[in-house]
């Protein structure tokens, strides 16, 4: 199975993860790597969870079973933790640390997990955890909405996916709005650099 790489992306509706999947799709096309994806985004606009599965390489399946993700990319810390069922001991996890507490917390129907404990748990169970505040980095890059590009930078830095930073930056130029290409590229670089220091 070594030639196949399985990536799960989880996010909250509106965080821009579908664009990041689309950029990765374009990057894979540029790299000449077969890629199949599937998405469950039933009620994304109503604040629900959006989950994308991306399978790179010569697989036919478009979904990823429990315990079989090589990489888990989480746009929101509690959602990263919730998706831990997709991971095994060899999985590399990348997570944003900036929380978006679900509404159930506000109405007292749940307690948001402690961010430090959350990182300890993920780190103990998986091969590697890269944790970064993608919102702060996106603001530094010039637009808070470029969180998805920051996380893509961190993802590519791991070197697990069969696409290079150049492929992704080229895909950013074709798949994101012209006015945001510079900010998005800067955000990607910031994510990449931050991950390389962890």
């Amino acid at each position: 199975m070594s030639e196949i790489t399985r990536l799960i992306i989880v996010a909250v509706g509106g965080q821009g993860n579908l664009l990041s999947s689309s950029v990765l799709g374009e990057a894979a096309l540029l790299a000449g790597i077969p890629l199949r994806m599937s998405e469950i985004h039933g009620m994304a606009q109503r604040g629900g969870v959006v989950e994308s599965a991306l399978v790179f390489g010569n697989a036919q399946s478009t979904i990823i079973s429990d315990g079989e993700a090589d990489v888990l990319l989480g746009f929101e810390p509690s959602e990263t933790l919730r998706a831990l069922n997709k991971c095994n001991a060899r999985t590399v996890v990348i997570t944003n640390l900036s929380p978006l507490p679900p509404f159930t917390v506000a109405i007292g129907k749940g307690v948001y997990p402690d961010i430090a404990e959350l990182q300890q748990i993920i780190r103990a169970k998986t091969a590697r955890l890269i944790a970064l505040n993608a919102v702060d980095l996106a603001k530094t890059a010039g637009n808070v909405l470029s969180v998805n590009m920051v996380l893509l930078g961190a993802l590519i830095q791991t070197g697990i996916l069969p696409v290079t930073a150049d492929h992704v930056k080229q895909a950013i130029r074709t798949k994101t709005k012209a006015a945001f290409v510079d900010i998005n590229t800067r955000a990607f670089d910031l994510g990449f650099e931050t991950a390389s220091r962890q």
Binding site: M37, S61, I107
Partner: protein, 630 residues
């Protein structure tokens, strides 16, 4: 130009399954497409809607699936290639038309898309619509991948025309919502005009005609069975004495599983893409060359039953299994990571398929252990929620206030407002299908002494709510129907419905039907209109309706806040919680708008999310919620 109109045969495009289906229809020269939107099929129609605005393709959002099929039945019987798109439960609504259309047949190709939803990602059941093939006598095609879905559509049209019958094209969510590279084919010229040749003794289905047409249908079914035997979509791959019969996405999971298990040379696969009628000779030949067979199919044991029946006819006694685990022998169904064997429940996944295949054929299967989740703290749920500023939330609050002191039942219906059943609103007690709010209200109010107040959206009202309301007026039932008119079909992604002002989309040539006028014309004895953002007045109006003995209708009119964002140049002023707040938290505990959040145990409003509806400001007992000054 719409990307799906790209005329570059041989070019590769990364497409969503639903885009691939639309592209397949474009390549087949489809000229008419009709639909009622429903996940997971909605993007097929959305693409047709967009394409129709820049080409000669005729597309319509029909009132419901039955009407959509009737429109397409007529265009196809005028010789024009037509497609009718719906989700699986939509075919139940269209079934009356379908069953006899099978007798009548078609002249131009007609392909009916039914998008099944194993696991019910966004549906009320996970029925397996392959049985509609058996029930109606129509052919069924099922793709296994995004690419194949595109390629199979032109084949479906040709099959329809060669049999002169509609063809049912069945997908599942994982085909509709997967993305993969697709190679474009040539686009056949679109022929938009046809003609209808009168032939009442073959078209008007009185009993004498239908007795003759049923004979014709059975003859067509025999012809379809012959085509199924040689269809390129029913094929055998690999070699070995172990056999697997599969369909749909399971084929992809099996290809991966056989490679991962290293048994590609031991197992041969029979992939069924033309699944009604099943190819009996092909299957009997396949079974005859196998020692042991596993049937891999999501949903019901549709193929398994057929395969076993064929084995019996052929006098074959080899073990055949799929979902009937009880007679599966000692190794099958044990020591599996997840579920024992295949189930009729939910969807499959690669790991499940790999493990069941390994267990059935007795080969080793390395299982990567999933991380131990035992010490992971409970993570707060993130259920979908009505949007910040959604007028449905205001209406639910007002109904609850107006009904204080009454013992109530709240039948609900299908749309965003179904989410109102979740706490803290908790407005929704019963739901079975589109339009059931009005019909079930008749029953509940007849045999209970409770006050029945039911909810239905504008699109669902037009779809199938009107007959229930007619019934209520005629039989003099006693309940209040609240019609939540937000001016659009919101849940499935803002599609038009007969009450929508199409001028807002800059589209001309449409009518617009007033819900109020319909309700008045039905003779509903008590009718009122509320503007849900006006809380006090709405509660008073609702109370009057609840006190009325007989059928009362309250129409709550306010545009979907998400849809309205596309038209408003400037956003309404956001609200904030001032120092007057005494932390009663009525705003959170009774409205639960997602714009609220807690900060150091005090309620705050996210100014970006706040739509400025001001409903919370009217609910706050301290009048502490105020607009942010410009």
């Amino acid at each position: 130009m719409h990307k799906l109109l790209t005329d570059q045969p041989g070019a590769t495009m990364v497409l969503l399954g639903n885009e691939a289906i639309t592209r397949g229809a474009i390549e087949a020269g489809v000229a008419v497409a009709t639909t009622y939107p429903g996940t997971p099929s909605s993007e097929i129609s959305l693409n047709f809607f967009q394409i129709s605005q820049e080409s000669s393709l005729y597309f319509e959002y029909s009132t419901n699936e039955k009407v959509a099929l009737e429109v397409a039945a007529a265009t196809a019987n005028s010789g024009v290639r037509s497609m009718c798109v719906m989700k699986h439960v939509g075919l139940n609504v269209a079934a009356d038309a379908l069953m006899t259309l099978a007798y009548v047949g078609v002249k131009g190709g007609l392909v009916i898309i039914t998008a099944d939803d194993p696991f019910m990602f966004s549906s009320q059941n996970e029925q397996d619509n392959r049985y509609y093939g058996k029930l109606s006598g129509l052919p069924i095609l099922e793709p296994s991948s995004v690419e194949e879905a595109k390629n199979m559509i032109p084949y479906a049209f040709e099959l329809s025309e060669s049999l002169q019958e509609p063809v049912i094209f069945r997908t599942t969510t994982r085909i509709n919502h997967s993305t993969a590279p697709v190679t474009l084919g040539a686009i056949r010229d679109r022929v938009c005009k046809g003609d209808f040749t009168k032939d009442p003794f073959n078209y008007v289905t009185v009993p004498a005609v239908s007795r003759k047409l049923h004979v014709k249908l059975l003859a067509n079914l025999d012809k379809a069975a012959e085509l199924s035997e040689t269809s390129p979509y029913n094929f055998v791959s690999g070699s070995g004495v172990w056999g697997i019969v599969c369909n749909g996405v399971s084929f992809a999971y099996l290809c991966d599983a056989l490679r991962d298990l290293g048994i590609q040379d031991k197992v041969k696969l029979l992939r069924i893409g033309f699944s009604h009628p099943m190819p009996s000779k092909l299957i009997k030949g396949f079974l005859g060359s196998c020692e042991k067979v596993l049937v891999v199919e999501e949903g019901e044991p549709y193929m398994e039953e057929a395969v076993k029946a064929f084995a019996q006819e052929a006098g074959l006694t080899l073990p055949i299994n799929g979902k009937s685990q009880q007679d599966a022998g000692s190794t099958f169904g044990k020591d599996l990571f997840w579920r024992p064997g295949f189930s009729r429940l939910y969807e499959f996944n690669p790991r499940l398929v790999r493990q069941v295949v390994a267990a059935y054929f007795g080969v080793p299967c390395k299982v990567e252990p999933m991380v131990d989740l035992s010490n992971v703290p409970e993570i707060p749920q993130r259920p979908p929620n009505l949007c910040a500023g959604c007028s449905h939330r205001a209406t639910f609050y007002e109904v609850k206030k107006a009904a204080e002191g009454l013992s109530t039942i709240y039948p609900t219906d299908i749309g965003c407002y179904t989410l109102g059943f979740l706490p803290p609103l908790s407005m929704g007690d019963f739901l079975i299908c589109m339009g059931s709010s009005a019909g079930t209200s008749c029953g509940f109010s007849k045999v209970t002494d409770k006050k029945v107040v039911s909810f239905i959206g504008d699109s669902t009202f037009f779809h199938s709510g009107i007959p229930g309301l007619v019934n209520a007026v005629f039989n003099n039932h006693n309940f209040t129907l609240v019609i939540l008119d937000n001016g659009i079909t919101a849940m499935t992604g803002h599609q038009p419905n007969p009450g929508v002002d199409m001028g807002l989309m800059n589209l001309q040539g449409y009518g617009q039907i007033s819900i109020e006028a319909v309700v008045r014309a039905l003779g509903v004895p008590h009718i009122a209109i509320i503007q849900p953002y006006k809380v006090k007045k709405s509660i008073e109006t609702l109370r009057e309706a609840f006190n009325f003995k007989g059928v009362s209708v309250v129409i709550a009119q306010e545009m979907c806040t998400l849809y309205a964002k596309g038209f408003k140049k400037t956003k309404s002023r956001s609200y904030y919680i001032s120092d007057k707040c005494q932390n009663h938290r009525d705003c959170i505990s009774q409205l639960a708008c997602p714009a609220f959040f807690l900060d150091a145990e005090k309620v705050k409003i996210d100014p970006v999310m706040c739509s400025g509806c001001a409903v919370c400001a009217q609910v706050c007992p301290e009048n502490a919620i105020l607009p942010i000054k410009a």
